[in-house]
């Protein structure tokens, strides 16, 4: 049994919130740099250049990459041999969000009573916290400030069980096509196939923590990722939807066995400011 204090968790989450919102991950910046060399639309190339310049300004002047510093999505992998002491895990994470968004001058974008008063909670809590018990004695925190523009373009649909791969590709393409410039392309697209409705959407979200260019360990799923990326980039949406050959930087897929009646497909879209940051305690 290894002890980790609530204070350590709070401190780490606060740091992750600030770092994730100011420093574009290297793999994302690399993918945008590389897209600049393949993009066919000159106007789109200029937009990609502005995105890179923005990352440089954010990093050097400590300005958030985007004014939408997001819902604070935290996926915690808790080793089953870890004992959290000195407070409740969820409170510790929310305290870290409160501190990070306050001290980091981040935007507080969370409205309480969503269908009525919509009062701002004032500190960007509560976070959207996913916990997962894993083997081992470490605690891993994955932080994602998830912007509203792209999150709002998420979609879920259950298809007939025999509809197969074609249904998945059609659904993902239709989602990207209809979203246009709203989710801030070039995108990173997470797709969850199988399980149940909430399992599919959770898988779609969790794939967005992967590195650009990485592929699913299952060959068939990896091939579908390649096929989806090609299909999406043929749509012509382009950076900020001005037209172009770079609509997505990558597509990630995860799957889970599902009910004999079902083919659940969930799409969770990430913008080009694909901000994630991790820490291991």
């Amino acid at each position: 049994m290894r002890e980790i204090t609530a204070g350590q968790i709070t401190e780490t989450v606060a740091r992750l919130a600030v770092e994730a919102t100011h420093f574009l991950p290297e793999d994302v910046e690399g993918a945008i740099r590389s897209a600049k060399t393949t993009e066919r639309n000159p106007l789109a190339v200029q937009i990609l250049e502005e995105i890179l310049e923005n990352a440089e300004i954010a990093r050097t002047r400590m300005l958030p990459l985007c004014q939408d510093t997001g819902s604070a999505v935290v996926h915690v992998e808790i080793g089953q041999d870890v004992h959290v002491t000195g407070g409740y895990l969820i409170d510790a994470i929310n305290e870290g969000i409160r501190r990070g968004y306050g001290e980091g001058f981040l935007r507080k974008s969370i409205a309480a009573r969503p269908f009525s008063a919509r009062t701002n909670t004032g500190d960007n809590t509560p976070g959207i916290i996913h916990t997962e018990i894993v083997p081992g004695d470490q605690l891993k925190l994955h932080f994602m400030p998830k912007g509203g523009g792209c999150e709002n373009m998420s979609r879920y649909q259950n298809f007939l069980p025999g509809m197969g791969k074609a249904a998945v590709i059609d659904f993902v393409c239709e989602t990207v096509d209809m979203s246009g410039g709203n989710p801030c392309p070039p995108l990173v697209i997470g797709v969850g196939i199988g399980g149940t409705a909430e399992k599919a959407m959770t898988m779609a979200k969790h794939t967005l923590f992967r590195k650009i260019g990485s592929r699913h360990p299952d060959e068939e799923v990896a091939a579908l990722e390649d096929e989806l990326l090609e299909a999406v980039n043929a749509l012509g949406v382009g950076p900020q939807a001005v037209g172009g050959s770079t609509t997505a930087l990558d597509v990630f897929v995860d799957t889970f066995p599902t009910h004999i009646t079902a083919l659940p497909v969930a799409v969770n879209i990430q913008c080009h400011s694909a901000r994630t940051k991790e820490a291991v305690l």
């Binding site: 066919r40 639309n41 106007l43 200029q46 937009i47 250049e49 502005e50 995105i51 310049e53 923005n54 990352a55 300004i57 954010a58 002047r61 400590m62 300005l63 958030p64 990459l65 985007c66 004014q67 939408d68 510093t69 001058f105 981040l106 935007r107 507080k108 974008s109 919509r118 701002n120 912007g147 509203g148 523009g149 709002n152 059609d170 393409c173 239709e174 096509d177 209809m178 246009g180 410039g181 709203n182 801030c184 299909a231 043929a234 749509l235 012509g236 949406v237 382009g238 900020q240 939807a241 001005v242 037209g243 172009g244 050959s245 913008c271 080009h272 400011s273």
Partner: protein
């Protein structure tokens, strides 16, 4: 960044005539911020026959909710938000004389038509470039609905604020023509629909 057509606010009909889709423009002068919550209140004021806090004639609205400024700074990160969410509120603003809008993403068919009808222009700034756009904002002052925080209406003094014309006064749409030009997919293009509409 490409050198753009320099625009000073407020905008005149003659200047709007010269703008076509795909043109880089830069705004210098005063622009006003407003998002969902502020628009909702403006519409309520209009319904009650009350005076609006801003005279919109010839003005430009920027759909933005900035991050808080660090001590000594004018404003925080300040990039555009999704324009289509404001579609339900846009026509009354154009009727009051609004001439320019800056946001991100496309507009629904009714708004494209209204922009043409009211001889206005819709531009996009690069979404997710809030740090870069911050550098072009020289002053910021809350002029209405302070309780809305980031969603309050602010008067921004801008210099060389960069944007791209997406809907011009002749009814053209850059996103539609751009997609058609660069599409290699055989899939039919789905119709554009306003969000929530």
């Amino acid at each position: 960044m490409a050198e753009g057509v320099h625009l000073t606010t407020p905008l005149t009909d003659e200047v709007i005539d010269t703008l076509t889709i795909g043109t880089h423009v830069t705004f210098t002068g005063v622009i006003y911020t407003a998002r969902d919550a502020a628009h909702k209140r403006l519409i309520e004021l209009m319904k009650n026959g009350q005076e609006l806090p801003v005279d919109l004639r010839g003005q430009v609205i920027y759909y933005v909710g900035p991050t808080p400024p660090r001590p000594g700074a004018v404003i925080g990160s300040a990039g555009p938000t999704t324009a289509m969410r404001l579609d339900p509120y846009t026509i009354p603003m154009l009727e009051l004389g609004l001439k320019g809008i800056i946001g991100k993403g496309g507009r629904g068919p009714a708004i494209r038509e209204a922009i043409k009808q009211h001889h206005a222009v819709y531009c996009i700034a690069v979404g997710g470039a809030g740090a870069l756009l911050n550098r072009h904002i020289k002053s910021a002052e809350v002029v209405a609905f302070e309780d809305l925080g980031t969603e309050a209406i602010r008067r921004l003094g801008v210099e060389g604020f960069p944007a791209i014309v997406v809907n011009d006064c002749r009814g053209n749409d850059l996103l539609e023509s751009g997609k058609a030009q660069y599409r290699t997919s055989e899939r039919p293009i789905p119709a554009v629909k306003s969000l929530g509409g």
